[in-house]
Subunit: 152 residues, 2 copies
């Protein structure tokens, strides 16, 4: 019995899960398998020149403490480092290590590949339409993150 009921919410979750599983699989194959889902969600919010943990928390919509724990995991695994903020003695700056940058590039590539698969299935035009509908339906304020992996 399939639930022809309008379950938009479930569809959204299914689609997201598909992306997340694919991303995780790619990262594992690329040797970055230790990154957890929650940790990986921090990366898109990192500036190339260093980001304060509290700023990171705000961008990611999480608490300082939660981010702190995720960062600890990433630091232990060598993906980011925490250096003192020269402009504020209370604060620190999160920065990607070389290893972390490589993982970001791998993730970016994987996501592009996954979107390519969607595009193959829906067609380019419809995929853009999907993106637009999502953006219209659930506008996300434009915070300016920006991954490092844009060249290529």
């Amino acid at each position: 019995m399939g639930n022809d009921r309008a379950d938009l919410a479930r569809q959204l979750l299914v689609a997201w899960r598909w992306f997340d599983d694919g991303l995780r699989h790619s990262l594992r194959e690329a040797g970055f398998g230790e990154i957890t889902t929650a940790q990986s969600m921090l990366f898109p919010f990192l500036d190339p020149d260093g980001t304060r943990p509290s700023e990171l928390a705000e961008r990611a919509g999480a608490t300082r403490q939660g981010v702190h724990q995720l960062l600890n995991g990433l630091i232990d695994k060598g993906y980011v480092e925490l250096v003192p903020d020269p402009t504020d003695g209370r604060s620190k700056l999160v920065r990607l290590t070389a290893h972390g940058q490589n993982s970001v590039i791998a993730a970016q590539r994987s996501l592009e590949m996954l979107e390519g698969q969607v595009r193959n299935r829906l067609g380019a035009k419809q995929t853009d339409e999907l993106r637009n509908l999502l953006r219209q339906g659930w506008p996300t304020e434009d915070r300016g993150p920006l991954d490092i992996a844009d060249r290529h």
Copy 2:
């Protein structure tokens, strides 16, 4: 031109979270606030005449043990009950209590209301288009998988 990079995945997650937050809020207001996200995801897989926990696990794409724990929570709070399966001495059947049925009705109403809000923003035609694109892009084979956020 925000040719935004691969952020389809993020958009999907944002949209799903919007639904989930709205649902949780409604349930809390309706007096069913103790149900957690993970527990609530079990409900759509329940048959009116009782469902085996292992069957539930398969439908939800989770392990028997995981479902077992969620069920324990729901049993403690009086939403479902576990009765012996008359046809199989090893097995049991999960059934909604009256309280549980009320919560399902409330959830359904809430989801419809939330979808109505989406429809207000996107328009009826575009909303149907969104649903169709999601269905095409991620065909939910029969019983959609269904897990919650923090697996890795």
